[in-house]
């Protein structure tokens, strides 16, 4: 039995081999998974909003794409990961309710996914795989043994990235 480390909403955690990081019921939020294949240090963040600079009350760094990814990488490096080896996988960013209007708030999932990818690119961390968008929730498990990302849904199957 592998030990599961749960990452809540607006939260981030790191893990080492053979621990598994998990976050349940991702909707418009994005699960960011980062991995060092040599030391097998892994990290996961559950991001709610794209940009910490757009909001005054931004003390929780794990809530925002820009600050969460940066903090996660720093935490992983502190735990023995090498920044140059890091790779990433992301999941989530769905639009749970659909409306015809152009309201930005409704497209928050898509904006979260874009913001995460921009931040990963800025830090030079390659994106190996993603499962984003759609209109359904996802639960994810990120295995620090091999860096595989298992995605479970209701009605849209289970698959591994």
């Amino acid at each position: 039995m592998k030990s599961l480390i749960k990452v809540g909403m607006a939260d981030l955690k790191t893990a080492t081999n053979p621990e598994v990081l998990t976050t349940l019921g991702l909707g418009s939020c994005v699960g960011v998974c980062i991995y060092d294949p040599i030391t097998k240090v892994s990290g996961m963040a559950h991001v709610m909003l794209p940009d910490s600079k757009a909001i005054r009350n931004n003390s929780n760094v794990a809530k925002f794409a820009d600050t969460a990814v940066l903090k996660l990488v720093n935490d992983m490096v502190a735990n023995g990961a090498n920044k140059r080896r890091l790779v990433s996988k992301i999941a989530g960013g769905a639009q749970m309710f659909s409306f015809s209007s152009k309201n930005d708030m409704m497209k928050i999932g898509q904006r979260n996914a874009i913001a995460v990818k921009e931040m990963l690119k800025e830090l030079g961390i390659p994106l190996k795989a993603e499962d984003t968008g759609g209109n359904y929730g996802r639960s994810i498990e990120f295995d620090s043994v091999d860096g595989s990302l298992r995605i479970k849904t209701i009605g849209h199957g289970t698959h591994v990235l």
Binding site: L24, G25, S139
Partner: protein, 206 residues
């Protein structure tokens, strides 16, 4: 000036509770008319919770729940979501259409649930509108049945713009004859600026 939910003081919480009470009372009346039976209602519970605590009240992040979501339009902008367990949803449909013996969610039940959500949220918002003297309307409904965590991410993100907590109003409707209980949760989420508009119209300065 905008307010952080963490700073919600006792009085404002009381006002929101009262809005919840009156709104839910109207919703219960509307429900009683719809099913043509007496409907009782427990005193609504108004809670300010941490994001991660919210899915617990529904049985965990992966519990399948039904959310019916509306945008608020007019003087107050934002959204309202009516959330209930799949079990409560089927109970509600069976109360509404006795003899239909609904046990699963299909296109027919989805459209029935949208209509129920529309009537409940509509009466909720019209009482808020009457109380505040503000012109508030709701949009057409959008419905999703999925993991509680995923559905709750929508109001959580909107509350996330103002703080790290979420305000929820829990209502329990009890159909008196067969003593069937339906637990529903209303999430009233005014946009940051609309919070002020709402409270000001009630004579509360923040």
């Amino acid at each position: 000036m905008s307010m952080h939910l963490e700073e919600v003081n006792g009085m404002i919480l009381d006002v929101l509770k009262e809005i919840g009470n009156i709104g839910a009372g109207n919703a219960a009346t509307a429900l009683a008319k719809m099913i043509n039976k007496k409907v009782d209602m427990a005193v609504p519970k108004v809670n300010v919770m941490e994001f991660h605590e919210v899915p617990e009240i529904l049985g965990g992040e992966e519990t399948e729940v039904c959310g019916i979501f509306f945008k608020l339009e007019g003087d107050v902008e934002g959204s309202i979501m009516f959330l209930l367990s799949v079990e409560s949803a089927t109970t509600l449909i069976n109360l509404l259409m006795p003899g239909s013996n609904v046990s699963e969610i299909n296109d027919f039940t989805i459209s029935a649930l949208k209509e129920i959500g529309n009537i409940l949220s509509g009466s909720y918002i019209s009482s808020l509108s009457g109380l505040t003297n503000l012109d508030i309307k709701i949009s057409v409904p959008s419905l999703a049945i999925d993991m509680a965590g995923a559905i709750l991410s929508v109001p959580a993100i909107q509350f996330g713009l103002v703080g790290d907590k979420i305000l929820i109003i829990e209502n329990e409707f009890i159909e008196c004859v067969e003593n069937e209980k339906v637990n529903g949760f209303f999430f009233l989420i005014p946009d940051v600026d609309s919070f002020d508009v709402m409270l000001k119209s009630l004579g509360i300065s923040i």
